[in-house]
């Protein structure tokens, strides 16, 4: 599982997962809907900074340091978004859109930084429960989301193993020779995960 959760006692940590999800979703939505102007970049940056400062992630500059850490991990997304839009749309929309996307992602990360996955799983399950009248299996949907997220780092590790195995046999990094063995490994993992879920009583 992507372990983004940071233990803490701040107000955002203490807030129930459901309302927190709605609050963060609303802020992300507002930032996403801002127009593509220079001012948007400043507003998006300000909202992210304020969000991390007041969220109670920890004492002193802990929130801002966490924001820096999140931004660093997004550096390539920021570069790709900025460069591609600079080429096709010009500087103002490129900077505004990049700022909006970055702010939306880092603000969304506040949810996973301050909420245990179990609490999130419960909140999603509760939120989806009214849809059970329409035939939706809320527990299964929530579990699907959890398992999907949990699989990302495992597949990342499997990809590294496939690359190492290829290098050990003298092959260069080549997408064509990487894709098929990785697909096989990923499908095998899916089979094993299915068995493990069944074994742990999941229908």
């Amino acid at each position: 599982m992507l372990t983004l959760y940071r233990p803490g006692t701040g107000w955002l940590h203490r807030m129930p997962a459901g309302p927190k999800l709605l609050l963060i979703l609303s802020v992300v939505l507002v930032v996403s809907l801002l127009p593509a102007h220079w001012s948007t970049a400043a507003i998006a940056a300000l909202v992210a900074i304020v969000g991390y400062t007041v969220s109670g992630l920890g004492p002193g500059l802990r929130g801002i340091r966490e924001l820096g850490h999140q931004m660093f991990s997004l550096r390539w997304i920021m570069v790709i978004t900025l460069v591609s839009q600079l080429i096709f749309m010009g500087p103002e929309p490129a900077v505004a859109n990049t700022a909006r996307v970055t702010a939306a992602i880092v603000l969304a990360a506040l949810l996973s930084l301050t909420t245990r996955v179990t609490a999130l799983l419960d909140a999603i399950e509760r939120g989806l429960r009214p849809l059970e009248r329409l035939g939706l299996d809320a527990a299964r949907c929530a579990l699907l989301l959890t398992v999907t997220i949990s699989t990302i780092p495992v597949l990342g590790r499997r990809a590294a193993e496939v690359r190492d195995a290829q290098r050990a046999r003298g092959a260069r990094n080549n997408p064509q020779t990487f894709v098929i063995p990785f697909l096989i490994v990923a499908l095998k993992h899916a089979d094993e995960l299915g068995d493990a879920l069944t074994a742990r009583g999941v229908r």
Binding site: M1, Y5, V117, T118, V147, D195, L197, A199, R200, G201
Partner: protein
């Protein structure tokens, strides 16, 4: 004498065009049973069959009085399965959450859930690691977590398919001790480790998808070693 915990009569399993298990008839009553044999002999298929992960093609099968093909959900509530690869068995991000995940379907009151998870982690020496990211653990710790996640449900039967395959000697020993201890569960242990098999009360030997030996560990392991020596 009570009915055997596991009873198979003329059971066959066909996967695609291959008969992976053929005419299997046996009664298992011992508390701990080891399943040995070469790769491809049908051991893991046997374990998956007992765990209700695959269905038989023919014959009759009863596990603690339950036919897995008809009452799979009930069977899964009473058994636990542990696989060789712990990575595929860990679902939740932290150790404590992963152990609690096994009890999720029971919808226990929070206090009881915390108590049972805490007790299980203590039993498996995972208390200090409770808040650690599950996937950052060592291989041995991951397998202990997988085992803890299986045992927290207090299963009547544990089916372990090469649970020590990826572990060093120390961790393999720890996992084996937990599996073999008498905590009120029966054990079916698929293993290539003959020393571990020798510690079980009964041993089953497979070859080519068929049962070729069933009995006391010494006798069956000697039979297997004679085959290996050829």
């Amino acid at each position: 004498m009570s009915a055997p915990a596991i009873r198979l009569k003329d059971v066959g399993v066909r996967l695609g065009e291959v008969d992976v298990l053929q005419n299997l008839s046996l009664d298992l009553q011992a508390r701990t049973v080891a399943v040995i044999g070469e790769n491809g002999s049908g051991k893991s298929t046997f374990a998956r069959l007992l765990g209700g992960l695959i269905n038989r093609t023919s014959g009759e099968l009863s596990i603690m009085g339950i036919d897995p093909a008809r009452r799979a959900a009930e069977l899964r509530r009473r058994i636990a399965i542990v696989f060789s690869n712990p990575d595929a068995q860990i679902i939740m991000p932290t150790v404590a959450e992963d152990v609690a995940f096994s009890l999720r379907a029971d919808r226990l009151p929070p206090a009881e859930l915390t108590q049972r998870v805490g007790a299980a982690m203590e039993r498996f020496g995972l208390t200090e690691l409770a808040q650690r990211p599950s996937h950052d653990l060592s291989g041995g710790q991951k397998q202990l977590l997988a085992l803890c996640g299986a045992m927290v449900r207090n299963p009547e039967l544990v089916i372990a398919d090469e649970p020590t395959a990826y572990l060093d000697a120390r961790n393999a020993r720890r996992v084996a001790e937990h599996l073999l201890e008498d905590a009120g569960h029966r054990l079916v242990l698929v293993t290539h480790d003959l020393a571990l098999a020798a510690r079980c009360e009964q041993v089953v030997l497979f070859a080519g998808g068929a049962l070729v030996g069933l009995g006391e560990p010494e006798e069956i392991i000697s039979q297997y070693e004679a085959v290996l020596a050829c």
